[in-house]
């Protein structure tokens, strides 16, 4: 393999680990639309930045951080509107904005489409360093706030009832979501990053026993999804995002099948 592809693989590995770790909380809280909302908000930022000749990653970062802050303030227990429904409406709105921008743009439509489907060929050592730094920062964050994050995962309302830091930790976590999804948008693609967020963690939840095992396994599955997906994309000349997501889905199918065949119990 050409040395040109090493930073691409390293970027993919860090992206997989980071998104795999995020997924543990997104899937565990049964709110996959949170991840989807934030990733699509990042995509809106990126496509409109492209439309106005601004750096798309900058646009994605600004919008995804705003989106994260917005999601953090959606109440946990509204009776007249389920949180998932609210986020699904927000998601539909974001999708509308994305495709409106794609429709308006004539000159750099291919660049916009690469934001939807993902293209890893841009990644150099700078991108690898940024992705790696963010992933390490997320890991440090999840270690520092391990007990608070576990409590939020088990029950956000119970955590709020008994601890004074729940809102702060939840808000910081969503900010990390925004940052990581925005930075990884170009590699995996806005439409598919959601699957990478869900599949590795869902696979880990199938077969693991205890929170630590879930976290480590989900990070491993995320890493395998991106690295194998990127290699497939390179050798078979296929879209990167599609390959990554297909691998992560296959991992989920494999763990579900294993659980069924081996009759795994807790």
């Amino acid at each position: 393999m050409d040395a040109y592809f090493f930073p691409i693989i390293v970027t993919g590995a860090f992206a997989g680990i980071g998104i795999g770790l995020l997924g543990v909380f997104i899937v565990g809280m049964r709110m996959p639309f949170i991840g989807s909302c934030i990733s699509h908000t990042a995509m809106v930022g990126a496509v409109y930045a492209t439309l106005f000749n601004i750096n798309p990653t900058l646009g994605a970062l600004v919008l995804s951080m705003l989106g994260s802050a917005g999601v953090a303030f959606i109440p946990n227990n509204r009776k007249n509107l389920d949180a998932n429904t609210g986020q699904a409406i927000l998601l539909a709105f974001m999708m509308g904005l994305v495709f409106l921008a794609v429709g308006l743009e004539q000159d750099s439509r291919s660049e916009m489409l690469s934001l939807l489907w993902g293209n890893v060929l841009f990644a150099g050592w700078g991108t690898a360093l940024t992705t790696g730094s963010l992933t390490v920062a997320l890991m440090v964050f999840s270690l520092l706030f391990n007990k608070e994050l576990k409590a939020i995962l088990f029950s956000r309302s119970l955590a709020e009832a008994t601890s004074m830091y729940t809102h702060l930790v939840y808000f910081l976590f969503l900010c990390f979501c925004g940052l990581i999804l925005a930075v990884n948008l170009k590699a995996v693609g806005g439409l598919l990053i959601f699957s990478l967020l869900v599949c590795p963690a869902a696979a880990a939840y199938q077969i693991c026993h205890g929170h630590k095992a879930v976290v480590l396994t989900s990070m491993l599955f995320g890493l395998l999804s991106t690295v194998i997906g990127f290699l497939m994309s390179y050798y078979l000349n296929l879209p990167t995002g599609a390959c990554t997501v297909l691998v992560s889905t296959l991992i989920f199918a494999f763990t579900s099948f294993s659980r069924f065949v081996l009759n795994m119990n807790d």
């Binding site: 049964r30 520092l144 391990n146 088990f154 009832a161 008994t162 809102h167």
Partner: protein, 253 residues
Amino acid sequence: MKNCVALSDILIKRGSHTILQIDQLTIHAGEFVGLLGPNGAGKTTFLKLCCGLIKPNRGNVRFQNQCISRIAPGRIAHFRKHIGYIPQQAEYHAHLPFTLREVVAMGRNALKPLFHALDKTDYEIVDSWIDKMGLADRGRQTFRSLSGGQQQKALIARAMVAEPQFLLLDEPGANLDPNWKKQLRETLDRLFNDCRITALLISHELDLIPSACQRLILLDQGRIVQDGPKAQVINSDFARQLFGRTITTPEKP
């Protein structure tokens, strides 16, 4: 007798609909109070009000003589760490593969500042409560693999490891079979007799009220319709109307 929680002139409205209206109510330290009422009576609202999770439109809630209904959200958390809360099943994610020990250990979080992990002493307390709940052989098992009754006991242990001064139980026996309901009542009786903790249990079933609970409050359409000794309340006309049958207390264990 020292007050634990005192409510005065409380009004909670949603739109034009009154959810809860209470003139005066005091729960004394060391009392075990049962709050009964049909679905939609305002029981959970009452419970959330007591632990400062919701603010009333009017009136005051005082916890240990400090007003918690009119203080900043940041400061209210300081009081919440003294309150043990056992939620309804819909409020927690029982499907996650947390071990029983992990779930119980989460209760100690309230006593730990940020960036401080639980230490050996914390885990000794966690293990002792798991033991007291009769779940010592299941500590490594996942919470999701436990039966409904065992999960309830685990949640009681989770609340108790935080050494609370006020325990709130929100429909703890919902969906349990009669045998587990009996076990849960016995557990709560033992807990109260051993720890003399102030407790408020809400339920829409009389079968779940333990014998340690000597005071009953009946709530209907957001208002207190009866408040007094258990024997007196369950024989009241209000109780018969609300529950639509002749009421018998559960047998003593």
